[in-house]
C-alpha cells in the first residue's frame, strides 16, 4: 500500500515538473563517466611525459 502511494507521488512529480524530469541520478552517473575518462587520460598522459 505504502509503495503504491510512493510511486503515485513520483508519477505526480514527473507530471508536474515536465519537461524538467528528476534526472539527478543520471547527472551523477554521467559525471562518473566523465571522471573515468579524465583519470585514464591523465594517467596515460603522465606515462607519456614520464617516458619522454
Amino acid at each position: 500500500m505504502e509503495t503504491r502511494t510512493e510511486s503515485q507521488r513520483q508519477i505526480d512529480n514527473t507530471k508536474k515538473t515536465q519537461p524538467e524530469q528528476n534526472l539527478k541520478g543520471t547527472f551523477v552517473a554521467v559525471l562518473l563517466v566523465g571522471a573515468i575518462i579524465l583519470l585514464s587520460w591523465f594517467g596515460v598522459f603522465g606515462l607519456f611525459l614520464g617516458r619522454a
Binding site: 519537461p19 524538467e20 534526472l23 547527472f27 554521467v30 607519456f48
Partner: protein
C-alpha cells in the same frame, strides 16, 4: 529541441574536457617539440642498400653524448644487429624498410613508429638508465614477425 538542464551542463563539461585535451596536446606537440614521428624524407625502397647512409647502417657519433642511428628494418630483422651507447646518450633513430611495412618500438619508452618502404621515419630518445633495451617490430610483416627484434646496450 529541448535540452534538460543537466544535459546542458554535462555537454558543456564534456566538451570543455575534450577542449582541454586538445589544448594540452597542441602545447605539448608544437610548443614543447613532442609532435609524433612524422619524418617527410623519402627514399627508393629498391635501392636502400646502396643509398647512403643506409648502405652502411650503424651508429654515427655526433658529439660526446649524441648519436645518429641509421637502421634498416627488413623481413625479419634489423640492421645493425647490435648497438652500444654510453649511459646518458641521446640517440636519433632514422629507419627505413627495403620490403614491407614494419614497426619500430622500444618497450618502456616513447620510441614507437611505423617504418614504411619509400619513407624514412625518425625518433629521438635519451638513454638515462643502463641496460639492454629490446627493440621490436610491432607491425605484422610475415611468417617470422615474432622473431624480428634486436637490442641496444646502454652502459
Amino acid at each position: 529541441m529541448h535540452l534538460h538542464r543537466y544535459e546542458k551542463i554535462w555537454l558543456i563539461l564534456g566538451s570543455g574536457g575534450l577542449a582541454l585535451f586538445i589544448v594540452l596536446l597542441c602545447v605539448n606537440a608544437f610548443a614543447m617539440g613532442m609532435a609524433p614521428p612524422s619524418n617527410m624524407e623519402m627514399i627508393d625502397p629498391a635501392k636502400v642498400t646502396e643509398t647512403p647512409p643506409f648502405d652502411n647502417p650503424g651508429l654515427k657519433k655526433l658529439n660526446d653524448n649524441e648519436y645518429d642511428a641509421y637502421m634498416t628494418a627488413f623481413a625479419f630483422g634489423f640492421a645493425p644487429n647490435k648497438m652500444e651507447v654510453p649511459v646518458g646518450a641521446k640517440v636519433n633513430f632514422h629507419v627505413t624498410s627495403p620490403d614491407v611495412v614494419h614497426g619500430f618500438q622500444i618497450p618502456g619508452t616513447n620510441v614507437n613508429f611505423m617504418v614504411m618502404p619509400g619513407h624514412i621515419n625518425s625518433a629521438t630518445y635519451t638513454f638515462d638508465k643502463p641496460g639492454e633495451y629490446l627493440i621490436l617490430c610491432n607491425e605484422y610483416c610475415g611468417a617470422g614477425h615474432q622473431v624480428m627484434a634486436t637490442t641496444i646496450i646502454v652502459k
